[in-house]
Symmetry: C2
Subunit: 130 residues, 2 copies
């Protein structure tokens, strides 16, 4: 049993213009959350000078974070959900489609792997841990 | 060359009371950022009912996120910094000291591993990529 899945992706070769301003980044991120079925609680974006953006979305299902290095044509993206994993995939696919990276370093982790399963006490002498 | 380090840690066996309310979680997280030298831009906390908290801190150096499952005595923690890695370690150590988990599943990733180093053109026929 786990509590969620966590997509960790570094996107290379992204057009610098797409990731230089919070205005551009905000529209991609907010739309990725909206179309994927993730549940936004709040979001915040920070514009670095002269260029570069950090964006973070607090989700009912965990979070999405997005940090850009336009000078390296790089985005580092995390999508972590304790809800339907398919929603994270949808958000990821939307962002990749919008940013068209030339390569992606992608990992998908599970979180909370070591929590105990529900303990079902069948009888005082018979405990099943599934 | 990389752009930063990312601590990914699942903390097990944490006292349920410590991680049930945003009030408790907020004090640990905000202090971890303050004492470690990380630079907070903003933070947001969400209280789940009847218990459980999500907290996220947008940092000038990237972000810190914290999600709790009191019913599983579990915290999933991420500290990602493009600044001094030591600051992330200090924040991590502070949180662990405060929460006293019985076990930790800990990973430290580097992000943006594949960005090109500065290209030094020595002569038209001699390009060094370091």
């Amino acid at each position: 049993m786990t509590v969620g899945i966590h997509i960790i992706a570094d996107l290379y070769g992204v057009d610098e213009e797409l990731i230089s301003t919070s205005e551009n980044v905000l529209s991609v991120i907010e739309e990725s959350v909206r179309i994927s079925g993730l549940t936004k609680i709040s979001s915040d974006y920070y514009q670095f000078q002269p260029k570069g953006v950090s964006g973070i979305v607090l989700l009912a299902e965990s979070h999405l974070s997005f940090h850009t290095w336009p000078e390296h044509n790089l985005v580092t993206l995390d999508i972590y959900t304790c809800g339907d994993p398919h929603h994270a995939d949808l958000a990821f696919n939307y962002i990749v489609t919008k940013l068209s990276p030339t390569s992606i370093d992608y990992k998908k982790l599970t979180r909370g792997n070591q929590i105990a399963e529900d303990v079902k006490i069948v009888s005082p002498e018979h405990v099943i841990i599934q």
